[in-house]
């Protein structure tokens, strides 16, 4: 107890009556390091959340139902969809039939996925119908109308990813030629162009199921894929278990199963984030080590005197660790307040524009706490090493500054 009391006494006096420049600089360094520890991972997490969000809202939904290996489509879709929608945890579901894959405009043509959808249920499951770039979304009874992704249409947007491979100059109300899987070709009017800012979903074309069934009667009441959106808070695994007994000959995948494309991106981001975090921690450790070491070199004589008058090593060392904790606490506290109440709201108002759209800072409580713990541990060790070293000097060497 007396050791702690003396250590606290020495640390407080040293901070309050010591060099304010060094104290301010150390605190500032801790602040900058803590903010840098939080900032980049938060930005990366924001980008990851954005990609995950786009994946679910424009490509996979929460659950994807496809035919089992030997089938090419799911039959009796109307009845099956009805049962799915009545299942606990399901918000809505929509059926899609992959009907073709070639689109031409003048001399330009390319291979993209052409899907037949029910416009209203598709809107209930996916956000694509809301991301209109030009024109309008499909209506249930539309005929000879197509809804194109920006990566197919191009629409003169040379900065859009995939523009070079697109049809380049297709705008709303232009005519394009679609080629279906059965070899049939038809002219379609471009009713609208959507831009999800996500390459995985911006290269799709949609026509109405009503039109598709007229063109290819064999697909009536069939689907190649059924997408299911779960209710907020519902556990996807539980919903899959609920859906499994409804029909045989189908298989289930979740957005997580299908997210391997973005999983690689996320893993890359995470690795970069971890490397930067370790670099920041090294900077913190070296900074605190140098500051403590310089402080100790300057105070070597004082430490020698303290030891000569009987102050033991433990409170001397502890006082330096406590000082490091103090600087860390003030720096981290200020850094957190700045990050939480200045940086985060500012970035929310002025988001970073990544290729996948606006990205804000996303931080979890766990991230905040783990950064605090790591920084305090680093600060403690960085202060402990030179302090331990200084109290192992001979008293006379310390007093004489050898």
């Amino acid at each position: 107890m007396k050791t702690v009391r003396v250590a606290v006494f020495l640390a407080i006096r040293s901070v309050l009556r010591g060099n304010y420049g060094i104290a301010s600089l150390t605190t500032l360094m801790m602040l900058v390091i803590y903010v840098s520890l939080l900032f980049l991972p938060s930005l990366i997490q924001g980008a990851v959340d954005r990609v995950n969000g786009l994946l679910i809202s424009t490509v996979t939904s929460d659950i994807v139902i496809t035919p089992a290996s030997k089938s090419t489509s799911i039959g009796d879709v109307s009845r099956y969809l009805g049962k799915i929608r009545e299942t606990a945890g399901v918000a809505d579901a929509t059926a899609v039939f992959h009907i073709g894959n070639q689109i031409s405009y003048g001399s330009n043509s390319g291979t993209w996925s052409i899907d037949a959808i029910d416009p209203s249920s598709y809107r209930a499951v996916f956000a694509t119908p809301s991301n209109i770039f030009e024109g309008h979304y499909l209506s249930a009874n539309d005929t000879s109308q197509v809804f194109l992704g920006i990566a197919i249409a191009g629409a003169g947007q040379i900065r859009v990813r995939g523009y070079r491979a697109s049809l380049k100059a297709v705008y709303a109300n232009r005519q394009v030629e679609l080629t279906f899987n059965n070899g049939q070709t038809s002219q379609f009017n471009v009713k609208g162009i959507f831009n999800n800012q996500f390459p995985l979903s911006d290269n799709n074309a949609f026509i109405t199921m009503h039109e598709a069934e007229a063109l290819v009667p064999a697909i009536t009441d069939h689907a190649t894929t059924i997408f299911v959106r779960t209710k907020p808070g519902a556990r996807v695994g539980q919903v899959v278990d609920n859906l499994k007994p409804l029909q045989d000959g189908v298989q289930f995948q979740t957005s997580a199963d299908l997210g391997s494309v973005v999983a690689d991106q996320v893993a890359t981001f995470t690795l970069i984030s971890d490397i930067l975090k370790v670099v920041s921690l090294m900077t913190a450790a070296i900074t605190i080590f140098i500051i403590t070491y310089v402080d100790l070199v300057n105070k070597r004589r004082q430490i020698g005197i303290q030891r000569a008058i009987g102050i033991k090593s433990a409170p001397i060392v502890m006082s330096y660790v406590l000082k490091a904790w103090g600087f860390a606490a003030v720096g981290i506290g200020t850094g957190f307040l700045l990050f939480r109440y200045v940086a985060t709201p500012f970035v929310r108002g002025h988001p970073f524009h990544f290729p996948n759209g606006p990205v804000t800072l996303v931080t979890t409580g766990q991230e905040v706490i783990q950064d605090v713990v790591i920084l305090v541990v680093v600060a403690s060790i960085a202060a402990l090493i030179p302090a331990l070293r200084s109290v192992h000097l001979r008293i006379l060497d310390a007093i004489w500054g050898n």
């Binding site: 003396v6 005197i305 030891r307 008058i309 102050i311 033991k312």
Partner: protein
């Protein structure tokens, strides 16, 4: 893994991200710390071989016996050798003496005669090369560093030539710091410190920092600090060396008065014959040896 960085390579086996980062950070710190310690150790060894450090502590002389209770300090065959490059210097050469309880003893000698070296051995600031030292009835030459620190704290007081106050503490705090370390209650040690500062004539200046005090005042604060834990012996290393004559006289009178009233043994080093007038016993050193019997 494209990165050949050891922390990340080792941490790659740990799946939890938090643990992975923590492990990597700790490895970095340990590596940096180990490198720093090794560097410091090498520098220290280099300095030691080319520097002034003497050999380690001596073992007790087999024929040494505890001194009488009336003796505050007893020394037998004390030697201290410094190494200056390849040359060995005998700072103390077979010194044996006894200092009675309650004495006011002056160690005199020319510069380089070994008087400060002797005081540092007795005050447990340094370790002798050989010989035996008894302080307050306890053989101190073989004590561990924590035991020496405990004895310095509870039984001895030390006054340095250059005041040696802690600049970030007030006069009052400088005085009560050793008492705080001893584990006394705050009211108790604060009152004791105030009383001692009153006693050395610095009552009105308790809250002044060292830089706000004159040399003589700082030295009196150092004397008060040396007394705060009621030591049995006070060592003062040329306490008047940096003071003008008036301040020097005040300091010596303070030491004399404390010696008389508190019955504390005072051992001080001086090369000023004026200071020697205050002493009840005079020890003279020349080239590390006692010259004649103590008077």
């Amino acid at each position: 893994m494209p990165l050949a960085w050891p922390g990340l390579v080792l941490a790659a086996g740990v799946h939890h991200r938090f643990v992975r980062v923590l492990v990597a950070a700790l490895i970095v710190i340990v590596v940096i710390g180990a490198a720093a310690l090794i560097t410091m150790h090498v520098v220290r060894r280099y300095r030691k071989h080319g520097g002034d450090s003497g050999p380690g502590p001596s073992s007790a002389s087999p024929e040494s016996e505890p001194p009488l209770a009336s003796v505050a300090i007893a020394i037998t065959h004390l030697n201290k050798t410094y190494r200056m490059g390849k040359v060995e210097v005998n700072a103390l050469d077979d010194v044996s003496l006894e200092i009675p309880n309650g004495g006011l003893v002056c160690i005199m000698g020319k510069s380089g005669s070994g008087k400060s070296t002797l005081l540092r051995q007795l005050g447990l600031i340094d370790r002798p090369s050989s010989g035996t030292i008894w302080v307050c009835g306890r053989q101190v030459t073989q004590l561990s560093e924590p035991e020496r620190a405990e004895m310095r704290l509870s039984s001895l007081g030390y006054v340095f030539q250059e005041y040696a106050l802690l600049p970030e503490l007030s006069a009052h705090e400088n005085v009560y710091l050793p008492a705080m370390m001893l584990g006394q209650r705050p009211q108790q040690y604060k009152r004791r410190a105030s009383d001692l500062l009153d006693r050395v004539g610095l009552g009105p200046r308790v809250h002044h920092r060292p830089r706000e005090l004159s040399g003589g005042e700082q030295q009196r604060v150092a004397i008060a600090r040396a007394l705060v834990n009621r030591p049995k012996v006070i060592f003062a290393d040329e306490p008047t060396a940096n003071l003008d004559s008036l301040a020097a006289r005040t300091v010596m009178e303070t030491l004399q008065e404390l010696n008389r009233t508190l019955q504390v043994t005072v051992l001080f080093v001086s090369h000023d014959p004026d200071d020697a007038r205050y002493a009840t016993q005079l020890i003279q050193l020349q080239d590390g040896k006692l010259t004649g019997a103590p008077r």
